[in-house]
Every structure is written in C-alpha cells, then in structure tokens.
C-alpha cells in the first residue's frame, strides 16, 4: 500500500476511518446489549436425574458439564464430562466457571464441601419421596431462570401421577439391586415411595438403610408375591433355580420380572412416571 502524501488524501482517509470506527462501535453496542441483559447461567450437573430434569425444562443450553453416567436423553452424552458419579473431578468443574453445580448427598459429600469452600453455589438434591422430587424440580426451574416452566412441568407430572391408580394395594414385593451380596432397598427411600405408588409394599421396608445387604433366608421368610430383578447379573430363569427359593410365592406363581429398566425407577426425574407405570403393570398382572 502506498502511503498518502498530499493532505487532501490523508484527510479523506482519516474521515473514512472515523466513519468505519463509529459504525463498528455502534454495531458492537447493538450486539452486546441484549447479551448483557440475558446472560446464560452456566450449570454443571453431577446427577443423572438432574441432567434429565434440565433437559425436560428445555435449559440444556445452560448445561456446560455433566458426568459419564448422564446418558439420557441422547444429547446429554455429548456434554463435557467432569468425571463419574462418585468421583467428579473438582478441577474440571471449577474450570467450567459454573454459576451453579447440582450435586447429591451422601455420595458427593466431599466434593460439595470443597465447592462450597471455593464459593461456588451448590444445589444439593436429596429427594426422599416423589413429593420432594417435585419440589426440587420447581426449585431447579427457578435457579435456571425458568420458574414458569418448572411450575408447568411439576404440574404435568403431578397430574400424571394422580392418574396412576393401582388396582391392588400393598402387594409384597422384593426388589433386588445386586446379587453378590444380595442388596435390596430399605424403607424411607425414594424407591420405596415409587414402589408404594405402583401398588407394591417393599418387604424390606422396615430396614432403615437405603441399600441394605440382606440374607437369602430373609427373602424366603418374608415371602414376596412379586420379585423385581433390577441388575443385569441374574435372569428370571436363574432366580427360579436358586436353591430354597421355590417356596416363595413369586417363584411358584412365576412372577419374577427382569425387564424393567432400573434407570426409570432409580432416577428421581421426569421419567419416574414411566417407571411407576412399568412397575404397576407387572405388579397388577
């Protein structure tokens, strides 16, 4: 480029550059202002069920990080992973500069404390029943700036839940979530409430632990009418062959079910309605 030599030419250049810069300045303000007004919250979810809730609220654009367990809906798999459910990486979380981190107790107690020390806001999810899950959905809606959506999703779920009317009530049910050792679900847990709403009664509801280890003979003694196998290690046919289990009514009447997706029942999120319906369909068969 040739450098301007006469004054008229340089004045012209100065004028044009001024014009361009004013235009740029104007454009940048035009672009910037709405951004400042509607800055997106940056959310990290360490809980698969909350990831599902955030997607159901349509706020997945806020979600900047989740765990490798967050596998529903399909798009959740593509979000940046900060680790697994029990060992999320603190550095990765902090590096995302989140405005809010969703976590759960007691599994993530340590990471919650560290995040609080670093003055990062944490929402601790710990639903013990369907009702407390609905409250949490409302709260998450408020946090993510969509209170109406939270309200309407809660309403929709509550109506659907009200429509679920099991034919029979308090059918004794045994839920198996691991085989070696035998682990079931205790009373006072979220899954216990799910089972009650599906018309079942947890035979181990008297235990206070969330996931107690139990003895096979206790299952036989408590004689469930329905057995749900919620882990991939045993199939229906195998359970029937277990020595001593032939005395159980559920085994006699062939009411062992291994085809319910455990995620539908274990995750306190919007899919719980499907989970309850799946349980109910089998309990009242």
């Amino acid at each position: 480029m040739k450098f301007p030599t006469n004054p008229a030419q340089s004045l012209k250049l100065l004028f044009y550059s001024l014009l361009v810069s004013i235009l740029l300045l104007y454009l940048s303000f035009l672009n910037c202002e709405p951004k400042i007004a509607k800055v997106k919250k940056r959310a990290v979810s360490l809980v698969p069920s909350i990831t599902e809730i955030i997607f159901a609220l349509g706020k997945d654009d806020c979600l900047v990080g989740n765990t490798i367990y967050c596998d529903y809906p399909e798009e959740a798999k593509k979000i940046y992973k900060v680790g697994d459910f029990s060992n999320p990486n603190l550095e990765k979380i902090v590096g995302l500069k989140p405005d809010i981190v969703f976590a759960t107790m007691p599994e993530q107690k340590i990471i919650i404390e560290r995040l609080k020390e670093l003055k990062i806001p944490v929402f601790v999810s710990q639903p013990v029943s369907i009702d407390s899950m609905l409250k949490e959905i409302k709260a998450i809606g408020k946090i993510l700036g969509v209170p109406q959506k939270g309200e309407s999703l809660t309403m929709a779920l509550a109506t659907e839940l009200d429509q679920i009317k099991p034919k029979n009530l308090a059918i004794p049910v045994y839920l198996e979530i691991a085989q070696t050792p035998l682990i079931t679900v205790g009373g006072g847990s979220f899954i216990n409430d799910v089972l009650n709403r599906a018309g079942g009664r947890n035979i181990f509801g008297f235990l206070t632990q969330e996931y107690p280890v139990i003895d096979a003979e206790a299952v036989i003694k408590l004689n469930p009418k329905v057995i749900f196998i919620l882990h991939p290690l045993a199939k229906k046919e195998e359970v029937k062959k277990r020595i001593g289990w032939q005395k159980i009514t559920a085994v006699k009447e062939n009411r062992i079910y291994d085809d319910v997706n455990p995620d539908l029942i274990f995750r306190p999120g919007p899919r719980i309605v499907q989970g309850i319906k799946a349980l109910m369909a089998r309990i009242s068969e």
Partner: protein, 315 residues
C-alpha cells in the same frame, strides 16, 4: 496341661460341632423344629462353605508359615487371592451374566496368577523362599491396582465391591453353583490331605535346613510342590467366597501357641479350628445387625483381642 494337649483334636472337633449346630439354629429368620426347610436349604450349603473356606485357609496358612519360616505369611502372601479377586471383578463388572461363569472366571485368573508368581520367582532356574514371597507380594500389588482400575471404570455401587473384596459366605446357590462347589470341595479335600502328607518334611525343614538335605529332604522340590498345591487350594476358596482375611494368619498361630509347632498336629488342628471359628464369625455377621456384615470385619474384630490374650498368657 498334658491332658489338654493330647485331647486337642477332641476339643477342636467339639468346637466345630458346636459351631455347626449353632450355624443351623441361629439365623435372621430364627429356628423352629417344625420348619426345617430354611435351615436345610439355605443354611446347610452356607455351613459347608464356611467349613471349606475356614478350614482350607487355616491349613494353607499353617503349611506356608512352616515352609517359609515367616510368621507374617498368610494364604494370600503368594498373590493368588488378588488374581482371583481381579477375575471376579472383571467377570462381574464387564459382562458375564451368570454367577457360575463369574466363579470360573475368578478361578482361571487365580491359575494365571500362580503361573505368573511361579515364573517371576524362578531366578536362574531356582525357586527360593525369598523369591516366592517377593514375587507373591508384587503380583498382589499388580492385581490389586488392576482390580481398583476395573472398579473405577465400572459403574457399580461401592458396597458390592467391598463385600466382594472382604469375603462373604452368602453366595447364592443355584444348581450350577452347587455342582461347582461340590467339585471344589472334593478337590480341596484331596489337595489338603496331600498337603498334610508333607508334615514330616516341614518339621525337618523347620529345625535345620542344612540337616534336611542329609535326611533326604529336597527343600527346593518341596517348596515348589507346596507352593503349587496351596495356591490351588486358595484359588478354590477365593473364587467361591472372596478373600476372607485374618483366619489363615491367626489360626495357625493360636494352634502353635496352645499345642506346639509339630506339623502333624498343627495342620489338622488348624483345619478344625479355622472351620469352627469362621462359622462362629459368620453367625455373628448374619445375625448381629438386620443387614449382613462383611465377614473379615468380624474375624478381625473378635480375633485380635483373643490372639492378644493368648500371646500375653501363653508366650
């Protein structure tokens, strides 16, 4: 004193019988003479498994402590348990659908470990005691870290893996599992008797290794054979009920403190006491809380004070 020594087997058998009977009577669902179905179908296999595990572990512990002349040796020193645990976790965490397959997987990995330890400890074509212990320990470390790695990459609740590592007799018996257990039991009986036949050589080795050669005891050959047989025995136990700790370490010491170091008594007495104590520990694990506790916690919590008492009064 002399009388208790001579009637040792009687007392120990009595203890074992008491343990067996109480294993039948005590359980989370109680006992009624009219309703024998639960004790017979659920508790009987468990009692047999307890005798098998406790007896074999203690017996192997006694033999290995004698062979390696090291009071800290237990059945797991030679690395087999960690290999079996790795096999179990691989089987459980990645795919295999039936419990019987998991058991077989675990046993195969235990065999692999035996081969690995054997080849590592062979230095210049010779197997030495130090070589064996070191090879066992490093193999243990290797497989423990691999097990941890498998757990980190799996998505299993932690409780399950704790029970898996800490040992537990509550395996669910299906006909297939029962057949595997019966095969394991028969094999274990044969191997245990074979191991017992080394008692004289072990006594001679314990007194003087130099003299042993002149008495026709080939230390190297015996070391090799005992290593392989006892590793096979441990592999059988661990693939069925995990690494129950402490029994194999402490029972031989108790027997030695009470009845002396003669292997002719030490080996069978260890079997009897180990079986009895493990059954008693299992009764506590099953009944003390509404949930089942890991067995190794009980064996250590009750075993340590008892051992300290014996150490203070008998030594």
């Amino acid at each position: 004193m002399q009388k208790t020594l001579r009637l040792g087997w009687l007392w120990l058998t009595l203890l074992l019988i008491i343990a067996i009977v109480s294993s039948f009577v005590f359980g989370p669902t109680g006992f009624k003479i009219t309703a024998l179905a639960i004790p017979l179908t659920i508790r009987l296999p468990r009692v047999l498994l307890g005798i098998f595990a406790g007896g074999v572990l203690s017996l192997v512990g006694a033999v290995l402590q004698g062979l390696l002349q090291n009071p800290l040796v237990d059945p797991y020193t030679l690395g087999v348990a960690s290999g079996a645990a790795f096999g179990t976790s691989i089987g459980l965490l990645f795919g295999t659908k039936t419990t019987s397959l998991v058991l077989i997987f675990s046993f195969l990995f235990a065999l692999l470990t035996i081969i690995l330890v054997y080849s590592v400890s062979r230095i210049k074509g010779r197997i030495t005691k130090t070589g064996l212990v070191l090879a066992g320990v490093i193999t243990s470390f290797l497989f423990s870290s691999l097990t941890m790695l498998a757990m980190v990459f799996s998505r299993k609740p932690l409780t399950q893996t704790i029970y898996l590592l800490m040992g537990h007799l509550g395996i669910i018996f299906t006909p297939a599992n029962l057949i595997l257990f019966i095969i394991a039991g028969i094999l274990a009986c044969a191997l245990s008797i074979y191991l017992f036949s080394y008692w004289r050589s072990l006594d001679i080795l314990a007194t003087n290794e130099e003299a042993a050669a002149s008495l026709g005891v080939d230390a190297r050959k015996i070391t090799q054979e005992i290593f392989i047989i006892s590793s096979l025995l441990v592999a059988l136990v661990v693939s069925l009920c995990g690494s129950i700790s402490f029994v194999g370490l402490i029972v031989p010491h108790i027997i030695r403190l009470v009845f002396g170091p003669n292997h002719r008594r030490l080996i069978p007495y260890s079997f009897l006491l180990g079986a009895g104590l493990l059954l008693l520990a299992d009764i506590i694990a099953r009944t003390i809380a509404p949930i089942e506790l890991p067995l190794s916690i009980i064996t250590a919590l009750f075993g340590v004070p008892f051992f300290i008492y014996l150490l203070k009064t008998r030594l």
